[in-house]
């Protein structure tokens, strides 16, 4: 710490809690008198950040919520007065069997994809650690290319690979004419391949960065004590990486929960749309496709609420982890 202790403490908002509660060991009693003199500077410094956040996140969310309790279609978009309808949009959505089917599908799809992405990402991270310099560089470049490719481009290419008549997959398997997209399960298989393929690089790089921070001595000591590779992985690597794993999992959940491009493009190429909608595409079809901005907003609000709940859950389990 190079700055003065006073500034440092004041700038950390969570110190408020320490001051009102029992004095922590880190901050001795000298803090107590400062409590009465409220210093405006730190709060003033927070204003720009909060203003930007409020504008960029707050306004759209408030607008979205307003939309969801109005009747808002194309007419209202062109200037007609929007009627307030309370929670009618939510009732109509939550009362629709299709919404629940889509929600179930989305949750299952999300969980499967997150599990696969994390597991394979971890496997590749471990592989990177053991590879020689050249192969490691080659693998990293490959991962980088997969990561940097726009979602639309890679989806279109994967869709060609799985094309019914001219696709590489059918050619290699000798199953020409086999439709991968017409059955919802194999449709989701293709979608999963694309989503996981695009999700792995970030996970692998981050976990690899984490792996390099685990002290080699600990591993050696465990090996000398007779711990096998699986034991070392379970009892040393995973606990050490736990904070990273938790954040990566929660990020992946957020990303895979609102997956859009992959499903949307595949639906255009084949398959039956009503059996393959996920929440993101479903909201888009309702709001933009059918001009029911009000109902679409209600679906989006449900998505936001679920996302926030999941994030809170993960952040809480992460902070608990750190308190241990």
């Amino acid at each position: 710490m190079t700055r003065s202790a006073t500034l440092d403490h004041a700038a950390e908002p969570w110190n408020d809690r320490d001051m009102t509660g029992s004095p922590s060991t880190e901050h001795p009693d000298e803090l107590a008198p400062r409590r009465r003199r409220v210093r405006p500077l730190p709060y003033a410094l927070l204003v720009p950040a909060i203003a930007v956040l409020g504008l960029m996140l707050g306004y759209p969310i408030i607008r979205l919520f307003t939309l969801s309790i109005q009747k808002f279609g194309l007419k209202q978009q062109f200037g007609a007065a929007a009627e307030w309808v309370g929670f009618k949009n939510f009732r109509s959505i939550l009362g629709d069997d299709e919404f629940w089917a889509v929600l179930r599908r989305t949750v299952v799809f999300c969980l499967v994809n997150v599990a696969l992405t994390i597991a394979l990402g971890m496997a590749i991270a471990l592989l990177l650690q053991r590879l020689g310099k050249k192969m490691r560089l080659l693998t990293m470049v490959g991962l980088m290319l997969a990561w940097s490719m726009p979602a639309l481009t890679s989806t279109v290419i994967w869709q060609w690979i799985f094309d019914t008549q001219y696709g590489l997959a059918n050619w290699a398997l000798g199953r020409q004419g086999e439709s991968w997209l017409s059955n919802p399960l194999s449709f989701y298989f293709v979608a999963t391949v694309i989503v996981v393929w695009m999700g792995i690089p970030f996970i692998a790089f981050t976990l690899y960065a984490g792996l390099t921070q685990i002290p080699q001595e600990t591993m050696e000591a465990a090996a000398i004590d007779g711990a096998g590779p699986w034991q070392r992985f379970r009892d040393i690597t995973v606990p050490a990486l736990k904070p990273i794993l938790l954040i990566l999992t929660s990020l992946s959940v957020l990303w895979d929960f609102r997956v859009f491009t992959q499903v949307y493009v595949l639906q255009r190429a084949g398959g039956i749309t009503r059996d393959t909608n996920l929440l993101g595409v479903y909201a888009y079809r309702i709001s933009i496709g059918a001009n029911q901005f009000d109902k679409g907003a209600a679906v989006a609000i449900v998505m936001v609420v679920m996302t926030v709940l999941m994030t809170v859950f993960y952040l809480r389990s992460m902070t608990k982890q750190e308190e241990l």
């Binding site: 939309l67 062109f78 007609a80 050490a240 639906q267 190429a269």
Partner: protein, 462 residues
């Protein structure tokens, strides 16, 4: 500990990523439409469900805009979509306009069909609205009902009156008011391989039964070609199935007083769909759940005996970039025959309407430009190109390829989707493609038709 730092760094990074994400989503609009989309997903630059039947393939590279006039007397903007209107047509129109108004600047901005509904939704409701726009005929009603377009009811006679193509007038009329002026049309025809017809000893079918027999014979005679289609019918191509429904006397939905009643499960429609299913099962080698975007590849591969297609399709087939120019001499076309000789099956009529934005700053100038676009001099260019012009009096002038002539014949007996402001929502929920995909894959016709009927009724009756 270092792990904590990495985790903290990740958290910061994720915030940054999230922020970038929301920037992308806000692309160019503050409207309600984009707000909804932004919170839900990132549709980004994907292609969108803007299906009309007329889009021709175009380059995405944008040439410098075509403009005219000095701008002292105001400025108007013209939006036309896709590649159906060549640049020299537009130059002609702007030239005519600036003869009368040399001080008015006209800017032409070519738009892509893909995503046009979203773009119009945001731009027409903004203060920076284009003045004259082109709409696909299945898209027009929604904008008319929303009050986005200028009411042209009292100008209808001046714009052509009874000479205007009837089905496009219907698309341009909402609640008795006329907003969308017919621009051009395209009807679906059947393309066939002349050489394969000759090899199988077939002549152009004159009735629907002959067509079915020809498809079966072609399939049998070319059994050695993998994926061969006597009639190429991918499942998402629902336009093709419509002809079978209509020719048997069925329809998608019929208006009954104030409400719509689904008609797909009427005995007539079921008969048509069953005929369609048999044709698919016995003669089509196309993907049962595919769309028609790759049909020209199948045609070039020699896998197609006949296929329903819009009139501009031969141009795509012989395009030297990814088509097969050698095939040109083998491409024939005819209007799909009806139940008896010398009749045609009703064809789906695709096309466009022109309209003036209700937010136009210069509605009078915009109207004068619109008058030029519907004038005989301008519309004649469409006829010469082989596109169906919006004026009936010019239908006889259509010249060009065999498919252009077949298209003109098909257009004489053409039909359209239900004229409802909610039709766009039916297309957005992809009800008809879903039904045809299921039927093509062997599902029970009556079950699927009943399912589609109830879904369509729910949307059309709001």
């Amino acid at each position: 500990m270092r792990m904590r730092k990495i985790a903290a760094g990740l958290a910061v990074l994720s915030m940054a990523l999230a922020a970038c994400g929301s920037d992308e989503k806000d692309s160019g609009a503050t409207s309600a439409a984009t707000t909804t989309a932004a919170a839900a997903t990132t549709p980004a630059a994907t292609d969108a469900p803007a299906e009309t039947d007329a889009p021709a393939p175009t380059d995405s590279t944008e040439p410098p805009p075509i403009t005219g006039g000095t701008g002292e007397g105001g400025e108007i903007r013209l939006w036309l979509n896709g590649g159906d209107t060549p640049d020299d047509f537009v130059e002609y129109a702007i030239g005519e306009f600036t003869k009368v108004h040399p001080d008015v600047k006209v800017t032409f901005e070519r738009q892509q069909w893909t995503g046009i509904v979203e773009k119009l939704t945001t731009s027409l409701s903004s203060s920076d609205s284009p003045d004259v726009i082109e709409l696909g005929n299945t898209q027009a009603q929604a904008f008319e009902a929303a009050g986005a377009l200028l009411d042209l009811t009292d100008k209808k006679a001046e714009l052509g009156g009874d000479d205007l193509l009837q089905s496009l007038v219907e698309a341009g009329t909402y609640d008795g008011h006329f907003y969308g002026v017919p621009y051009y049309a395209g009807a679906r025809v059947v393309l066939y391989r002349k050489d394969l017809f000759e090899a199988s000893g077939l002549s152009v079918p004159t009735t629907l039964d002959e067509l079915l027999a020809a498809a079966t014979k072609l399939k049998a005679d070319n059994a050695s070609t993998p994926n061969f289609s006597g009639m190429y019918l991918p499942g998402k191509n629902w336009y093709a199935a419509l002809s079978f429904i209509w020719v048997n006397g069925g329809d998608i939905a019929v208006q009954d007083g104030d409400s719509w009643k689904g008609d797909l499960s009427s005995p007539e429609s079921i008969a048509g769909l069953t005929q369609f299913q048999q044709l698919v099962e016995q003669t089509s080698g196309a993907p049962k759940d595919g769309d028609d975007s790759k049909d020209y590849i199948a045609f070039c591969n020699g896998e197609v005996g006949m296929m329903p297609a819009p009139g501009w399709k031969p141009g795509q087939i012989i395009n030297p970039d990814d088509g097969c120019p050698d095939m040109e001499a083998n491409i024939g076309a005819f209007a799909m025959p009806g139940l008896t000789a010398d009749t045609t099956s009703p064809a789906f009529l695709g096309g466009s309407n022109l309209a003036i934005s209700a937010n136009s700053a210069h509605p009078d100038l915009a109207y004068e430009l619109l008058q030029i676009l519907i004038s005989k001099g301008y519309q004649k260019q469409f006829a010469d190109q082989g596109t169906i012009p919006a004026l009936k009096s010019l239908l006889g002038d259509i010249s060009g390829s065999e498919s252009a002539v077949a298209q003109a014949k098909a257009a004489e007996n053409s039909r359209f989707v239900p004229s409802s402001e909610n039709w766009a929502a039916v297309e957005a929920s992809s009800i008809l493609p879903d039904m045809i995909v299921a039927i093509s894959s062997g599902a029970d016709v009556a079950d699927e038709a009943a399912k589609a009927d109830s879904a369509i009724e729910e949307i059309l009756n709001g």
